[in-house]
Amino acid sequence: MIRVELPSHLRTLAKVNGEVRLEVAAPVTQRAVLDALEAQYPALRGTIRDHVTLKRRAFLRFFACEEDLSHESPDTPLPEAVASGKEPFLIIGAVAGG
């Protein structure tokens, strides 16, 4: 079970409280997590990555295990601690955004 933390505005939009939990088959990558997130919460499509290019939106960052994963390839496996559910995958709004 993958744990995902969303910014508060996206929690409101997705109508969820707290962490989101997702079933993601291995290999657990950014792309696989975001695909699963958008499948479970379609209202989030386009809010984290572009509809067409699927690139991360400029003012969002991806963190996990105290590392900035924003510039990793979307197909790079995420840390084992994220894949095992020990640590959450964090989607963070950049301070400068908006």
């Binding site: 919460y41 499509r45 950049a94």
Partner: protein, 391 residues
């Protein structure tokens, strides 16, 4: 008894202000979509309980919200888990993708601030214009400038690419607020005719429902483009029309207040005795098609009202002769702006006029502008104001 509902979009959420026909006591609902920029919200003239909202954010992009009960509850059309024919969830309501068919594809760049060419990039929806006949049909004017249409209540959006692709796009350029399509006017007497306006490109008209478009800017004069009388490139801020006279248009350009009596084919200046003819809003009295309203702003470099006085100017002669309306409005130390979509009128017997400011005030006049009162004083900066007159 009649009621009015004022739909207010702000930098940090939406508010709904409601009153009976006297328009003296108001109920305030909101913030809806707290923390998001609400560029525009507008109700369907066919079904007033159907309200569309443009909810946008620099972080998260564009969301379309919809209410079917007059703003009590909201849904993101297509935002629920629905499986499409390809097996994937739909989630289409916030998807605005430029048409890359033959009509849209040849035009892939516009002019950037520095004069170089720049690709079209979707940023946000500035204006939503529900159809006059079908509550499920709604038009969206977007930045970078293009016109989209939904025929399924906001679930999915398709560009009307004939506008962006009609040929002059490389000469369009962003104004200070971006390259936005901010005005959409549907002709109530001619279903095929739509007027739109873009900052900074100008006004355009289609007579075939959006298939083909032509610039309608003859008579406009703008010093900031190499040829001040060019066919396109003008920074039109807003256009208004009275539904009984759809061939007569009133325009607040960057500088200059203009009018056309031939559906935009030719424009003449009607700034007359205004203290400054820079501004953003313009609107028409609900029952007097020659009575128009503007709020003069000091200059393009100083986006606040002239002389520290918040004054609405009214012309009862379709322009040229203007009178200041000040009763109830601050007349000293006031430095707010009134943005282009932030004025509206109701259609009660004694026409109500409403506008919102960047200082967060929403003012109402229940006597066609003779006197004003603030409905609210301390909202976030107001981006848009629309009014629904309810029976």
């Amino acid at each position: 008894m009649s009621k009015v509902r004022v739909l207010v979009g702000t930098r940090k959420g939406a508010f709904i202000l409601s009153s009976d026909g006297k328009r003296q006591n108001w109920e305030v609902s909101g913030p809806h979509f707290a923390g998001w920029e609400i560029y525009h919200m507008k109700g369907s003239p066919v079904d007033p309980n159907r309200i569309y909202v443009s909810q946008t954010s620099g972080w998260f992009g564009q969301i379309i919200q919809r209410s079917d009960d007059g703003g009590k509850t909201w849904t993101t059309p297509g935002g629920g888990v629905e499986t499409g024919p390809d097996g994937f969830p739909k989630g289409q309501s916030n998807k605005f993708v430029y048409d890359t068919s033959n009509k849209g594809k040849p035009l892939t760049t516009h002019q950037w601030y520095d004069g170089t060419q720049h690709p079209w990039e979707f940023k946000r929806v500035w204006h939503l214009e529900p159809s006059l006949k079908d509550p499920d049909t709604v038009y969206a004017g977007v930045e970078d400038a293009a016109l989209f249409q939904s025929k399924d209540g906001g679930h999915s959006w398709q560009e009307l690419p004939g506008l962006r692709g009609h040929g002059t796009g490389p000469k369009w350029q962003p104004g200070a607020g971006g390259m936005c399509l901010h005005t959409i006017i549907l002709d109530p007497k001619n279903p095929g005719r739509i007027y739109i306006a873009i900052s900074a490109a100008g006004a355009f008209r289609t007579d075939d429902g959006g298939e083909t478009w032509k610039p309608i800017n003859r008579g406009l004069h703008s010093q900031f483009i190499p040829d001040p009388r060019a066919e396109v490139g003008h920074c039109v801020h807003h256009v208004a029309m009275h539904p009984s006279r759809p061939n007569t248009l009133f325009m607040q350009k960057h500088w200059d207040v203009m009018r056309s009596d031939d559906a935009g084919d030719n424009w003449t200046e009607v700034s007359g005795n205004l203290p400054t003819d820079f501004g953003f809003v313009i609107d028409v009295h609900a029952h007097e098609p020659e009575t128009i309203y503007v709020v003069p702003i000091k200059s393009d470099g100083e986006h606040y009202v002239h002389e520290g006085k918040l004054r609405v100017y009214r012309s009862r002669s379709g322009g040229n002769e203007w009178e200041p309306l000040t009763k109830g409005l601050p007349q000293k130390d006031c430095y707010v702006n009134v943005l282009r979509d932030a004025m509206a009128v109701d259609s009660l017997d004694k026409c109500g006029i409403y506008f919102g400011t960047t200082g967060g005030q929403v003012y109402a006049s229940a006597d066609a502008g003779d006197s004003w009162m603030p409905i609210v004083r301390d909202l976030p900066a107001v981006l848009s104001v629309e009014v629904q007159t309810l029976s």
